[in-house]
């Protein structure tokens, strides 16, 4: 075994150890440890990505006991690619949101905040790399708790209420997932994905068992859909994302909910098996819920009257897109889902990091009326917000266009005219709605306030620290890369799915 194969283990252990280390540190040292860890994770993951691309996928036993008896992790191109984007988002959102972290997190609690960041990095790594469905559950639990802690670190009244609601919804989702895992274990006697898959394939040859298996998969799907915020379970989203500190909002919307979706995809491919899944009526339900999520999320975003809630509701719509392309099914549908997941991660995190800057020059108000002209006072943030809006709406050159195009192609490939028509209509309507609320905001932030006195106009604020500019433009660069060269990423994802089987 090459030494590089040890890197996933080192990544998980290093992030767990540094999280407890942060307990003993002061504010500055804790952020330093956190930063070093994130750089290490990103580099190690890039190395593993290159290794798996050049050689092949590998499994790594956790301990001396081989597959069905001990735990196991597994690294392939798809896992490493997704983790790389997650890590880029995480590494960018900490310095870019630090300005607000400093204000909103209590002076004595910064080290705890860093500990939670490290813990959630560990959980994301383990969730992505896991080859064992119960390990998935354990780290899913860590991720849920840690993200709730990251949220309530702000400690204003409203976020605590949002945290309680988030906790209730997420525990419901976790317990449904656990129920699914337990039922799977009861039927097969295995927890590792490969033997579980073999046993399940054997069981499901019996037609009388098909219904039970379908229900188990349904329970798993609903559990993870609640946690990632699919329609009709997205009502915890606006308060959660809108009121937490920008770093947390960026992290939660682009990493946490996406990690759950990736776990679901992994369960579909490696546990249930894509052939078995095609025989179930489940994907039509997922497709319907996805389409409903796209439409209702967009309508809620239009109805909201402050920008934070609007951005948060648009997350619900984008989660709907991902589930919609999962529901289309087929390899092309899954590739489109992963591509949209990556593109949306990059875009949405930047949106959550940019919006507070615009609010800051608008007298700290998040209501649309007060935001008028804020981009004129803060040109950089206005430009970044516009780029994100264009990407969200699906203008060519940005990731949003490429992923919507891929979704449409996948629907065309599905050789069912009903599915294709439904997806086409949903895409058209939602793109129009997206354009309505995002471009409306862009026009508003660029137009002069009505009763502005030209002499008393607020001075233009141009000075941003590099800690904000570098991460923000990095995210834009990744976004444009995804949009300009979708073939490269889609090819990587495709080969990743080939290895996932």
């Amino acid at each position: 075994m090459d030494f590089i194969c040890n890197l996933p283990l080192f990544m998980i252990i290093a992030s767990l150890f540094s999280s407890v280390l942060c307990l003993l540190l002061k504010k500055k040292a804790a952020y330093t440890v956190c930063g070093i860890l994130m750089v290490f994770l990103t580099t190690a993951d890039a190395i593993v990505l290159y290794y798996t691309y050049a050689h092949s996928t590998f499994t790594y036993p956790m301990g001396e006991f081989p597959a069905p008896w001990g735990n196991e992790i597994r690294a392939g191109v798809l896992e490493c690619l997704i983790l790389l984007v997650f890590m880029i988002v995480l590494i960018c959102s900490i310095p870019a949101g630090y300005r607000y972290l400093r204000w909103e997190v209590d002076e004595t609690k910064h080290n705890l905040y860093c500990a939670l960041l490290n813990l959630s990095a560990a959980a994301v790594c383990a969730l992505v790399f896991t080859n064992d469905i119960f390990t998935g559950y354990v780290f899913l639990e860590i991720l849920t708790l840690a993200s709730c802690g990251l949220m309530v670190a702000t400690e204003t009244g409203r976020i605590v209420l949002a945290g309680v609601r988030y906790m209730i919804m997420n525990l419901l989702g976790s317990s449904l997932f656990l129920l699914g895992v337990v039922l799977l274990y009861g039927m097969t006697g295995h927890l590792l994905m490969v033997p579980l898959h073999e046993s399940l394939a054997e069981i499901s040859t019996d037609p009388s068992m098909m219904l039970t298996v379908t229900l188990v998969v349904g329970v798993l799907t609903i559990g993870l859909a609640i946690k990632s915020g699919l329609f009709p379970f997205y009502f915890w989203m606006p308060d959660t994302y809108g009121w937490s500190t920008p770093t947390t909002a960026a992290f939660m919307s682009s990493v946490v909910s996406k990690a759950y979706i990736f776990l679901l995809i992994k369960v579909y491919w490696r546990v249930i098996g894509i052939d078995l899944l095609e025989r179930m009526p489940l994907h039509l339900i997922v497709l319907a819920l996805g389409i409903a999520g796209v439409i209702f999320g967009s309508v809620s975003a239009i109805r909201s009257n402050d920008v934070n809630r609007m951005v948060a509701y648009s997350s619900a719509a984008q989660i709907g897109y991902i589930f919609m392309s999962l529901g289309i099914g087929g390899r092309a549908g899954y590739i489109a889902a992963i591509f949209h997941l990556l593109g949306h991660s990059v875009t949405k995190s930047l949106l959550f990091l940019v919006t507070p800057r615009l609010e800051e020059v608008a007298d700290n108000s998040m209501i649309f009326k007060d935001l008028q002209g804020s981009a004129l006072r803060d040109r950089t943030s206005g430009l970044l917000f516009t780029i994100c809006s264009l990407s969200m709406t699906g203008i060519p050159l940005f990731a949003g266009f490429a992923s919507k195009f891929l979704i449409l192609l996948a629907a065309w490939d599905s050789s069912s005219y009903g599915v294709f028509t439904a997806v086409l209509i949903a895409l058209a309507v939602s793109t129009a709605l997206n354009a309505l609320y995002f471009l409306r905001t862009v026009i508003r932030i660029y137009s002069h306030p009505e009763n502005e006195d030209p002499e008393n106009a607020e001075p233009v604020r141009r000075h941003h620290s590099l800690g904000y500019l570098i991460p923000a433009w990095t995210l834009v660069a990744v976004n444009v890369f995804l949009g300009l060269f979708p073939a490269i990423t889609a090819g990587l994802i495709d080969s990743g799915f080939g290895m996932l089987l």
Partner: protein
């Protein structure tokens, strides 16, 4: 907010009124986001028509919510019952179902050196899951500390008076002081014998934590504060979990690369046996005890130790 939460968890509501009457002093450093929050709330709530609208909606949704909740619960129960009725007996359709379990029972002692098969399973075969599980506890402790511990900005901290001062009650104190050493000893026994008999770090740690809670409830926090300060608790957690993660990381590394594991397994049945299981049980026990006592102290008065 924190006082409010804590008052909600206490049975008496006396703390709540006091909290609601005191006005929060604005804090300059956190002014920015707070002003945004306040603006939003004022714009919504100051409007009388809005208030009526909110009331009307609440009444309407209250009925709707109940109906939908009942229907969805009944549906879910029906589906689950139907599924369980159709579930095959364990291993009935699948003869390979006990491949894993039988190996744990048959070879557990030989391969791990632990007499207690459960300990062998959770701390050796599936050690990665348990590593995650103990970090779940740690995460919960960190989250509770963030939410409930008084920070630098809580200048006018408010600690609700206890319903009655337990430390002045002689019967409680004497019985507590009599019980605590016994429970403590029992907890230590369960932790140390985790690889030999039922028990282990999680259950033993809970008993240790319970004894600490009884001690602070019967003899007052002044007694426990002498030993358990915030800093010491942190150091203890760091030592236990740091040791846990690093040693298990080492074992995973050695095992996966097919190297020789230098940790001796010892003679099965002896107290110093089963390789890493005993020290790991101690580490887990410490973490669980710290977490339990930390929860109690934070919920009761918003601090651990003196601060």
């Amino acid at each position: 907010m924190k006082e409010f939460l804590r008052a909600c968890f206490r049975k008496d509501s006396s703390g709540m009124e006091e909290f609601l009457n005191t006005e929060e002093k604005p804090d300059v450093s956190r002014q920015i986001r707070k002003s945004a929050v306040r603006k939003w709330q004022e714009s919504l709530l100051s409007n009388p028509e809005m208030q009526k609208e909110i009331q009307r909606r609440q009444q309407r949704y209250h009925v709707l919510y109940r109906i939908i909740a009942v229907i969805s619960c009944i549906l879910f129960i029906a589906v689950m019952l139907y599924m369980i009725a159709h579930l095959p007996l364990y291993g009935f359709k699948n003869p390979r179902a006990d491949v894993v379990a039988s190996r744990y029972i048959e070879k557990g002692l030989e391969e791990t050196g632990a007499v207690n098969v459960v300990a062998a399973m959770i701390l050796d075969y599936r050690a990665f899951d348990t590593l995650g599980e103990s970090f779940v506890l740690f995460t919960a402790l960190v989250c509770t500390t963030i939410l409930l511990r008084f920070g630098a900005k809580d200048k006018n901290r408010f600690v609700a008076e206890p319903v009655f001062d337990t430390s002045s009650d002689t019967i409680l104190r004497v019985i507590g002081l009599f019980l605590v050493p016994c429970i403590l000893l029992f907890g230590i026994y369960i932790i140390l014998n985790g690889h030999l008999s039922p028990g282990g770090g999680f259950s033993g740690g809970t008993i240790l934590g319970a004894s600490l809670i009884i001690l602070s409830a019967s003899a007052g926090f002044t007694t426990t504060d002498r030993i358990f300060t915030y800093k010491r608790l942190n150091i203890m957690t760091f030592a236990a979990l740091g040791f846990y993660s690093l040693s298990k990381g080492f074992v995973f590394f050695v095992g996966a690369n097919g190297m020789h594991n230098p940790i001796p397994k010892g003679i099965p049945g002896a107290i110093l046996s089963a390789g890493l299981i005993l020290p790991l049980n101690i580490a887990v026990g410490l973490v669980v005890a710290c977490t339990m006592y930390g929860f109690y102290s934070l919920f009761e008065r918003g601090m651990i130790g003196h601060a």
